[in-house]
């Protein structure tokens, strides 16, 4: 049990960064090749169309260079990554049926408890596979599908084939291509017409193994006038060696539907988090991304919404908190392709102990998207001289009859603000933590209470766990 000991480096990650011994039942050898891709497809016993999809994507991945912008990815060694690790023989429907180490992991992370208290359904992925999945019976009866992506592909091929890879094609970018060739796990969500799922569906992604690459793939289809809130949390065991997470998330919001997608990303600081997330919103549909980036070594993530239907709406509210050694390059994209569409982008970022945050916003309004509205606001808070923050907004407006705005602020914690709080008995750390919590409040108040509490605790840990 020696390696079950948490590894505590600069930060106290013992709450999230603990390890369990490797008890996986199958793993590919490290590195990526055509053989590895075929091996993954074979283990999964996939139809030929999916193998073809994977192999095509592998070509795209091999051809594309690394992005020349954003965080430095030069130390990311694709040959050192293990692309597929199968943790258990089969998926469990009850926590008791899981191997001891995996069950202990999710218990420490509070997932079974959250499920009992307030979730409509839970999926838990451990390394490459979803090891536990459950949806409340009444939702099943209403035709809601919430399962892992592999099962989704097997059991609902007609729906999956129709949408899979259509929102984010495999050649969209290098990491979408990588995901497309080695994807495993993730969620498949289908909400039938008119059904409102009132409590959140939650997926939890855990990386336990060293040198691991996790490539889950999520597809959400909201039929007309349906509604759902999907929440994902991500954490990883802490190691010296790098790990890679490259997910693809596709959302199809059909007319009049409302999809909210919340991410609380708290990977350990050895994880490269290179994720592509995109939604397509049809007539009068409303899509919200709530995206919190706290962990990871480097993040590149720009949740996007394509407003293709008249009257569709987009809200992208994201936060980033970068500490020592972290480079969080996050942002948002809103693409207006129809009249009367609106988008709201809000970003809040904090950097400390030499961390770097960068906000990239992209708003595009196509000709004919008349009466469209878009507003972007980004605020950065820099906590010390070693840290920094950048803002790269891009507006590309090809229509005159629109209303577009952009605001940006960069601030530091003021001496007077600190003195005021300290004069009431708070230590300097507590005072700064309070200012940071207040800074993120616009985000936190959108979270369900249980997550808001967890989020505030995370910030507290970041603020007081990393001294010097």
């Amino acid at each position: 049990m020696a390696n079950a000991q948490p590894l505590v480096s600069e930060k106290d990650y013992s709450r999230y960064g603990f390890r369990e011994p490797d008890e996986s039942v199958y793993r590919t050898k490290k590195g990526l090749s055509r053989e590895i891709v075929e091996e993954i497809s074979k283990i999964k016993n996939e139809p030929k169309w999916m193998l073809d999809f994977r192999l095509k994507a592998l070509e795209f991945f091999q051809k594309r260079p690394l992005p020349t912008w954003g965080p430095d990815l030069s130390s990311l060694n694709f040959d050192e990554i293990v692309y597929y690790i199968k943790p258990t023989e089969k998926q469990a429907k009850s926590w008791e049926d899981l191997p001891e180490g995996i069950r202990r992991t999710f218990e420490k992370l509070g997932i079974p408890e959250a499920e009992r208290k307030f979730l409509a359904g839970v999926g838990s992925q451990y390394d490459s596979e979803v090891v536990y999945h459950k949806l409340k019976e009444d939702l099943e009866k209403q035709g809601v599908i919430f399962t892992d992506m592999d099962t989704g592909m097997r059991e609902y091929p007609e729906i999956v084939k129709k949408y899979f890879g259509t929102i984010i094609p495999p050649n969209d970018n290098k990491f979408a291509a990588l995901n497309s060739c080695v994807w495993s796990g993730g969620s498949f969500v289908y909400i039938p017409e008119g059904v409102e799922v009132k409590t959140p569906l939650q997926a939890y992604f855990r990386i336990n193994s060293e040198n691991m690459g996790q490539f889950e793939r999520t597809l959400i289809i909201a039929e007309p006038n349906s509604k759902c809130h999907y929440i994902e949390g991500c954490t990883a065991a802490t190691y010296q060696a790098d790990a890679l997470h490259a997910a693809v998330v596709e959302i199809v919001a059909l007319p009049g539907s409302h999809v909210r997608y919340t991410t609380l990303q708290n990977w350990s600081t050895n994880v490269y988090n290179l994720v592509t997330k995109r939604a397509r919103a049809y007539e009068n549909a409303f899509v919200e991304w709530l995206d919190a980036n706290i962990g990871s070594k480097a993040t590149m993530k720009y949740p996007s919404i394509y407003l293709v239907g008249r009257g569709s709406r987009a809200e992208i509210l994201s936060i980033a908190f970068a500490g020592k050694g972290q480079n969080l390059d996050a942002g948002a994209k809103a693409i207006h392709m129809a009249p009367d569409t609106s988008s709201k982008i809000v970003n809040k970022s904090v950097s400390k102990d030499g961390g770097r945050t960068n906000f990239r916003g992209f708003v595009k309004i196509f000709p004919g998207a008349i009466n469209s509205k878009s507003h972007t606001r980004c605020d950065a808070l820099i906590l010390d001289e070693k840290s920094n923050s950048g803002t790269i907004p891009q507006l590309d407006i090809d229509e005159n009859r629109v209303n577009v705005g952009h605001e940006a602020t960069v601030g530091k914690v003021g001496e007077d603000q600190l003195f005021y709080l300290m004069s009431r008995g708070l230590s300097e750390d507590e005072a700064v933590a309070m200012i940071v919590n207040g800074f993120f409040e616009t985000f936190v108040k959108e979270l369900p209470l249980e997550y808001a509490v967890e989020f505030n605790r995370l910030i507290q840990l970041e603020m007081t766990g990393a001294v010097g």
Partner: protein
């Protein structure tokens, strides 16, 4: 009974000498008023007492129960029982007044406090200060009017219950009705045993708050101390009249 003693205090800000030898003694349960013209160093004294890092003490001592607190950060001074009611309270977006009060209350009580008791106590204090319950759900000082900010300071004072409170121009920016409410709040706290050191530019608040001791600060020094009648004298003669007379 806690005692704040200021001995021969010299202090500067940005290289400019402001305090030039202040001597004062304030005991818990006493009500003092410090008056003086603009630029005499009143606000500087309040910041120096609470430990604002921008202000440099060049000479002298600040003693709380005989212990010199110079060099202690503001939070340590708060834990010794000092409180500063700010002339210009600072906005802290996203932090509700209630959350702020609870966190600081808990901190000053070493974490031993019940949220239920706190809530009950907070409701009482709001009533005394004739403040609406919704007020505490607003973000700390953000968008508060001048009067609301001052009332929020007195609310903090009454919740945190320090031993000695320095109230810097709590009366400025208040209309007559607010002034009366804030004054009666301060009187009540003084009766409950908090030492009050009221810094004011105008004699106006002294119509409602009756100090036992009045001091006059001019050019960084206390030039005269007396009882309540000194305030009256200032009203009649002005500061110059007192110094020269």
């Amino acid at each position: 009974m806690t005692e704040l003693e200021i001995r021969n205090l010299h202090a500067s800000v940005n290289g400019k000498k402001i305090l030039k030898g202040v001597n004062l003694k304030i005991r818990q349960g006493e009500l003092h008023a410090l008056m003086g013209p603009n630029g005499s160093g009143k606000s500087t004294l309040s910041y120096v007492l609470m430990g604002h890092p921008k202000y440099v003490v060049e000479q002298g001592e600040i003693l709380v129960d005989g212990e010199n607190i110079i060099g202690l950060t503001a939070d340590k001074r708060a834990k010794l029982g000092l409180f500063l009611g700010f002339q210009y309270p600072v906005e802290v977006p996203g932090v509700t007044l209630k959350n702020f009060l609870w966190r600081t209350y808990k901190t000053l009580n070493n974490g031993n406090s019940s949220f239920v008791d706190f809530n009950e106590m907070l409701s009482e204090k709001l009533e005394v200060l004739k403040m609406d319950k919704s007020f505490i759900t607003r973000y700390l000082n953000e968008g508060f009017s001048g009067g609301e900010k001052k009332r929020a300071e007195v609310l903090q004072l009454s919740v945190l219950k320090p031993k000695i409170a320095i109230m810097d121009e709590t009366d400025s920016g208040l209309d007559v009705d607010s002034l009366k409410i804030v004054s009666s709040g301060i009187n009540k706290l003084a009766r409950e045993g908090i030492g009050i050191f009221l810094i004011t530019h105008y004699q106006r608040i002294l119509n409602y708050v009756k100090p036992e001791f009045v001091h006059i600060l001019i050019d960084g020094k206390v030039v005269k101390s007396g009882d309540y009648r000194l305030a009256k004298e200032i009203e009649e003669k002005g500061y110059e009249g007192i110094v020269n007379g």
